[in-house]
Symmetry: C2
């Protein structure tokens, strides 16, 4: 798969799978809404600060993020780390009208945070073969890019999130 | 969610996400075709013995298996361990006409194996809340059940796998 094909997979996804180690040291996965991306290497996820996976990631940030399209038989697993942000800039970027139903106190709600996944390597799978992405390849592809709502861009609609 | 609702989620799934620790000690996820289930606690997956995740699971069998339905906002994460089977009975059970394209030497192909995921606990998520499954609850639900192709049963077709 080319970088552009991998970016297309990421951008048309609404959800990804976040793999992490839970507080008992076990493998765990959480399906997350994930539409904000900086190229292939950085991805933002709105989350409740109190949720179990955020608490686990604060203890152990090693994680992976998996994008897949079953119909196309495409998958991309990124390995790296998760950083929990409570800075207002991140929270404003991902905020949508109506998010008060998840975070009653609005953008400043202490139970609202943004998880940033930072990839250090990647491995992709498709019907026609598999391959790897190094940290240097990710950095080169991502250079000069900003965070964008890939799904909104792909779907061609004006919403920040669907 | 009731046990029956969780079993319906599992049975209508074609794929699940297998979370494991790779040879570098990192979190990793592999999307797997997973339609053979014994209740909620045991799941079978045909795999190439040579694939990276099988080699990692042979070293460290701690794993999780995640079933999800994005449209219904349902998810079930099972924590447990993966056991790699090379016994002919497992390989015969999951074999389909045409699998020679993956395993040229047929059922006896040494590159063909069956991964059994054995759940020890579970956690489920739906729009209306979340909850947990204990080992005892899984055992009680699964008692007296055999492995079945849940997808074929749900879809009402006669194929062993789709």
């Amino acid at each position: 798969m080319t970088y552009e094909e991998l970016a297309a997979l990421v951008n048309r996804s609404l959800f990804a799978d976040l793999g992490y180690t839970d507080e008992d040291g076990r493998q765990n996965i959480r399906r997350v809404f994930c539409v904000w991306h900086k190229g292939l290497g950085r991805h933002l996820i709105s989350t409740n600060t109190s949720s179990a996976h955020v608490q686990s990631l604060l203890r152990n940030g090693n994680a992976c993020l998996y994008f897949s399209d079953d119909a196309a038989f495409e998958g991309l697993c990124l390995c790296g780390r998760a950083v929990i942000h409570t800075e207002r800039a991140f929270k404003e970027l991902l905020w949508n009208d109506g998010d008060e139903k998840y975070y009653p106190d609005g953008i400043g709600d202490p139970d609202y945070c943004v998880t940033e996944f930072v990839a250090e390597s990647g491995r992709f799978y498709r019907y026609d073969g598999k391959g790897t992405l190094t940290s240097a390849e990710l950095a080169a592809f991502d250079a000069g890019r900003d965070f964008e709502n890939g799904y909104a861009k792909t779907a061609g609609n004006g919403n920040k999130q669907e």
